[in-house]
């Protein structure tokens, strides 16, 4: 299971304040704690700054890669910000995200084909948001086919099935689970990724919902998740489920996390 640490996002107040104040130490610390907690990629998102997003995102790339020896997940709906940030990145970044929306697709295609990178393919259709399993699979398949025909290896594609709140439509959980299942079966070696918190919008006890949703997604084949790796209960869920699904030889990661005190024991 690939973990993308989500904490460096300017939609969080403390991060926005640190970015505005150019507080290098604060950002470095948030990067480091996520790396220590088991993140494989560190997400960076400065989207809330609009006009200043490009500068701030590039700044974050430099600061975070100085702090930790990990690749980053460059996260923005703005193709221009991604095109600039990728120039500052060392190694192979993950680009989050491309979709079938025409302008976004056309602007990002040259960015993601220019150099080796991993690509999050968000299941947004050209003019609508998918609701059913079938619609998600259709958009996901179209993105996989188009991106691979442009020379991107299938194993570098991370399909995001687009998680929507179960509070608004109780079919939204199974819509994602079904889509993950079919995409992982139809396209061997492709990856699936998602964020967790959208699922619990509008409901109480969101953390419990998010944790259990992660477990269900993993059982359906999810291979990567964007989450807070410093949430010890969430990571305990992730590691135990991965083990139960046969993905942790000798239960090494699970026991290791326990013995090093990195996960919650309750």
């Amino acid at each position: 299971m690939l973990v993308v640490g989500e904490k460096i996002n300017t939609s969080r107040k403390s991060i926005a304040a640190a970015v505005e104040a150019q507080d290098v130490d604060f950002i470095r610390e948030v990067a480091r704690e996520q790396a220590e907690a088991g993140a494989h990629y560190i997400d960076v998102n400065a989207g809330t700054f609009l006009d200043k997003e490009v500068d701030y995102l590039c700044w974050l790339v430099e600061i975070v890669q100085n702090a930790v020896d990990l690749p980053l997940c460059l996260d923005s709906p703005n193709p221009q910000a991604l095109a600039e940030a990728i120039k500052h990145h060392k190694g192979e970044p993950m680009i989050n995200s491309i979709s079938l929306e025409k302008e976004r697709y056309e602007a990002l295609l040259p960015v993601v084909t220019d150099r080796p990178c991993r690509v999050v393919a968000l299941c947004m259709a050209e003019t609508s948001m998918p609701t059913t399993v079938e619609e998600r699979v259709q958009v996901g398949a179209a993105l996989i086919n188009r991106l691979t025909s442009e020379g991107i290896p299938v194993e570098k594609i991370y399909v995001d099935p687009l998680v929507q709140p179960v509070s608004v439509d109780t079919g939204m959980g199974t819509a994602v689970l079904g889509a993950i299942d079919i995409i992982m079966q139809d396209f061997p070696r492709v990856n699936t990724i998602c964020g967790l918190s959208n699922i619990s919008f509008g409901l109480p006890m969101r953390k419990v919902i998010n944790r259990n949703f992660l477990a269900l997604c993993m059982a359906s084949g999810l291979s990567a998740a964007i989450l807070d790796p410093t949430d010890e209960q969430l990571m305990a869920t992730l590691l135990s489920v991965e083990m139960l699904l046969g993905g942790d030889e000798y239960c090494e990661n699970f026991i290791g996390a326990y013995q090093s005190g990195r996960v919650s024991t309750i």
């Binding site: 939609s11 989207g47 809330t48 700054f49 609009l50 997003e53 923005s76 709906p77 703005n78 929306e101 302008e103 947004m124 003019t127 609508s128 948001m129 929507q164 709140p165 509070s167 608004v168 109780t170 919008f201 509008g202 409901l203 109480p204």
Partner: protein
């Protein structure tokens, strides 16, 4: 007022069967239509909005209450003469250009409708021109815009400019909302109000139109 207690409670609970029966009972007893609407249904939805804003009620419960009210309206609406149904104000609502997210916008539209506003929902990917034309056409009191992407927020500014160019900026109040949208951004683009959720949107709309 106490006449409508059963109806109000049923709407808050989202109990369609009881609410519809209570509405019918009120109609049979000859209650005033506007009273059933204002003191029964809208009063209930006001409480729902307030409980939602303070975390005592959650989205599925709000949806259920709104649906209950809609079912009751099916009994009442045909009995009103044309134009007789008093609305709190006319609202043109939509998600801005190139943005396809509609969940938040739908919740706001539903709660505003529940509060007694007349809603024209333009859907998603609504251009500044479409907002402006529709606002002119219906004589809108409020234009409400939603954006879920930082990249589509500038379309809110453009829509306000389009309202200005059409010469109707001083006739409509502009409300904005959506995950990346902030109070600061609202004042920066000279919107009249920012609302972080559906419950607050209703309160903000009433304030803008000076409705108690």
């Amino acid at each position: 007022m106490s006449d409508f207690k059963g109806l109000t409670e049923a709407v808050i609970k989202g109990d369609i069967q009881t609410a519809v029966a209570e509405t019918q009972t009120a109609l049979d007893a000859g209650a005033n239509l506007q009273d059933i609407l204002d003191k029964g249904l809208i009063a209930a939805m006001d409480q729902v909005g307030e409980k939602f804003s303070t975390g005592q009620m959650f989205v599925p419960q709000m949806l259920r209450s709104a649906k209950t009210m809609q079912e009751c309206m099916k009994l009442i609406k045909p009995l009103f003469q044309e134009d007789e149904l008093a609305t709190k104000g006319k609202v043109v609502i939509g998600t801005v250009r190139q943005d396809l997210h509609d969940i938040g916008k739908n919740l706001v539209a539903m709660m505003m409708e529940g509060a007694g506003f007349a809603i024209t929902d333009l859907g998603v990917d609504v251009s500044p021109k479409d907002f402006t034309q529709k606002a002119q056409e219906v004589g809108a009191d409020i234009v409400a815009m939603s954006a879920l992407l930082s990249t589509t927020m500038p379309a809110m500014r453009e829509t306000i400019e389009a309202l200005q160019e059409a010469g109707i900026r001083d006739k409509v109040k502009v409300m904005i909302g959506g995950a990346p949208v902030t109070e600061n951004f609202a004042s920066e683009i000279k919107a009249d109000s920012y609302a972080p959720d559906a419950g607050s949107a209703v309160i903000a709309a009433k304030k803008l139109l000076s409705i108690s």
